[in-house]
């Protein structure tokens, strides 16, 4: 996936600056550039030592106010860039001079530190925030992204205090309240305990419904499925506030694969997935799973099916499971969320920290958490026409399904892989471990 070689200057090696090229950057040890921290009171000594001993490229000086050309200068293979106020110089150095540069840096007292460019590779982990602009320029500029993330930072700092009069805390946390997108006519399948087809908020929103449970109609006798469906696609104006549905104009495919007691088999789930794909679902949302042991491999059959679903344009997301008791005990991501081609969703609480029950990325090979979403004290639809507040990775997962509907609306021709990439690159980085929250907090486009 790395870019092919581009023009090289006298100093510059190939530099791959694409924000998503983490793989390429991790493979590359050195790119020829060093970031050097100089003694601010004695910058010239350090520069002179670098010039005479390591033959660095000519230095261009940048002051704090002159930010316009910096990116260009940094890209230039024959120029080193000095940030005078910071006492930092980013130097271009010939490959054969790298050793000389390092030894000079060690010897010269006015050089505090020198790091090869691979240390700068922390940047791509931040840069993916900007990636959605590549996909949806009409909907989202970089400035908007920065603004959203600033607000999310404030939310994270404020802790679990949310005004839920107009919007549930979950919709605010994922910035769905700021999105102009509605998921209009995008088909989202929720495979669960069915749906309360008579609920005033959901009636008329169900595109198709089918039961794969022998002897039981699609009508939800449990409440789990109705709650999930409300979170995916509850209306812009529920008959009783606050608003709780992410994609208020998405079309629901309600597949009943769990009986009214909440039980189901893999066979029923496979049948429901095939139905959803045949119905044109862009997303299959499954707030279900079975626990696995540490070290256990993902189920190959689900993985094959997920791969074939992705080929047909359907993204599959699944709850990570609620078997943990943090901080002492973290259980691995359940199946089928642990398949490499299935996105696993973790649950966050109102402080945007991992809920105590949320499973973690204990197992490799697909057992990772891919993204985190609101999954504590989530208000949504209940059978009988009302509402209820539930917690669990089951309640986090449909938030992700809703955002995928918004992404699919914004770019109807996007492949399933495109949608997944947009979803993950648009997430808001959290300070918690990747094994707990994956790419971070779900964000609406």
């Amino acid at each position: 996936m790395a870019n092919g070689p581009t023009d090289k200057g006298a100093f510059g090696d190939k530099r791959d600056r694409r924000p998503n090229s983490l793989g390429a950057s991790q493979r590359t040890e050195y790119t020829g550039r060093y970031v050097i921290l100089l003694d601010r009171g004695n910058q010239e000594s350090g520069l002179n030592a670098l010039r005479s001993n390591a033959g660095i490229a000519p230095v261009e000086r940048v002051r704090g106010t002159e930010t316009e050309n910096v990116a260009e200068l940094l890209e230039h293979p024959d120029v080193s860039v000095l940030f005078e106020e910071l006492g930092v110089v980013v130097v271009e150095v010939r490959p054969e001079q790298r050793y000389a540069l390092v030894t000079t840096a060690e010897r010269e007292p006015s050089i505090i530190a020198a790091e090869p460019e691979r240390m700068v590779y922390a940047l791509p982990i931040i840069a993916p925030q900007q990636a959605p602009a590549e996909f949806f320029p009409a909907y989202r500029s970089d400035e908007e992204v920065v603004m959203r993330h600033s607000i999310a930072e404030v939310a994270a700092a404020n802790g679990p205090v949310w005004d839920e009069q107009a919007w549930t805390w979950g919709l605010q946390a994922i910035r769905a309240n700021l999105s102009r997108l509605t998921g209009r006519d995008v088909r989202i399948a929720v495979l669960d305990t069915g749906v309360d087809t008579g609920h005033p908020d959901l009636a008329g929103r169900i595109e198709a419904a089918a039961s794969f449970v022998p002897g039981q109609a699609v009508q939800d006798g449990n409440g789990h499925g109705t709650h999930c469906i409300g979170t995916v696609a509850g209306p812009a104006h529920p008959h009783q506030g606050p608003r709780y549905g992410v994609a208020c104009e998405a079309r629901i495919l309600a597949g009943k694969v769990l009986n009214n007691a909440g039980s189901g088999t893999d066979g029923q789930i496979l049948a429901g997935m095939a139905w959803a794909i045949a119905q044109g679902a862009r997303v299959i949302s499954m707030s279900l799973g079975a626990p696995v042991q540490p070290g256990e491999l993902f189920p190959q059959t689900y993985e094959k099916l997920a791969q074939r679903a992705i080929e047909r344009g359907t993204v599959i997301i699944c709850a990570a499971g609620n078997d943990s008791n943090r901080p002492q005990h973290i259980e691995p991501v359940s199946r089928p969320a642990n398949c490499p081609s299935v996105l696993a969703v973790a649950a966050l609480d109102k402080a945007l920290t991992t809920t105590f029950f949320s499973n973690g990325g204990i197992n490799g090979q697909g057992g990772e958490i891919n993204i985190a979403a609101p999954g504590r004290d989530v208000r949504s639809t209940a059978p009988g026409g009302g509402y209820q507040i539930l917690s669990g990775t089951s309640t986090a997962t449909p938030h992700v399904a809703g955002v995928l509907a918004l992404l699919a609306q914004a770019n109807p021709n996007a492949s399933a892989a495109d949608l997944m990439a947009s979803l993950l690159s648009g997430a808001f980085l959290l300070t918690q471990p990747v094994m707990d929250v994956g790419s971070g907090l779900l964000q609406a486009p």
Binding site: T193, N222, G223, H224, H227, L258, G262, S263, G264, T265, D266, G267, Q268, I269, L270, A271, M273, A274, I277, A278, S287, L288, G289, A290, P299, Q300, T301, Y302, E303, K304, L305, R308, A309, N322, R335, F357, L390, S391, G392, S394, T395
Partner: protein
């Protein structure tokens, strides 16, 4: 020998080559699989088979995976954590 197998039937799910779905499923039936559901377009199916025949199913040409079926059980509806 396998005909006299006394091991209990267990649930399995399988992925097979979708381009020759019918043929592979027929071979699976002959090897002892009782099919309970099939998804020809995606090339998956579910069924039951004597536990000691699972490895035999996996060896059939065109079979890509065999997994033991597992049940999903949600917490009781009145549990606050779902």
């Amino acid at each position: 020998m396998s005909e006299s197998s006394r091991s209990e039937p267990v649930g399995v799910i399988l992925a097979v080559d979708p381009d020759r779905f019918a043929d592979v499923v027929e071979a699976l039936r002959q090897a002892g699989l009782t099919v309970t559901g099939e998804q020809p377009v995606l090339g998956t199916l579910s069924g039951t088979v004597a536990e000691d025949r699972i490895l035999v199913l996996g060896a059939i040409d065109g079979v890509e995976s065999v997994d033991r079926e597992r049940a999903v059980r949600l917490p009781p509806p009145d549990s606050p954590i779902q």
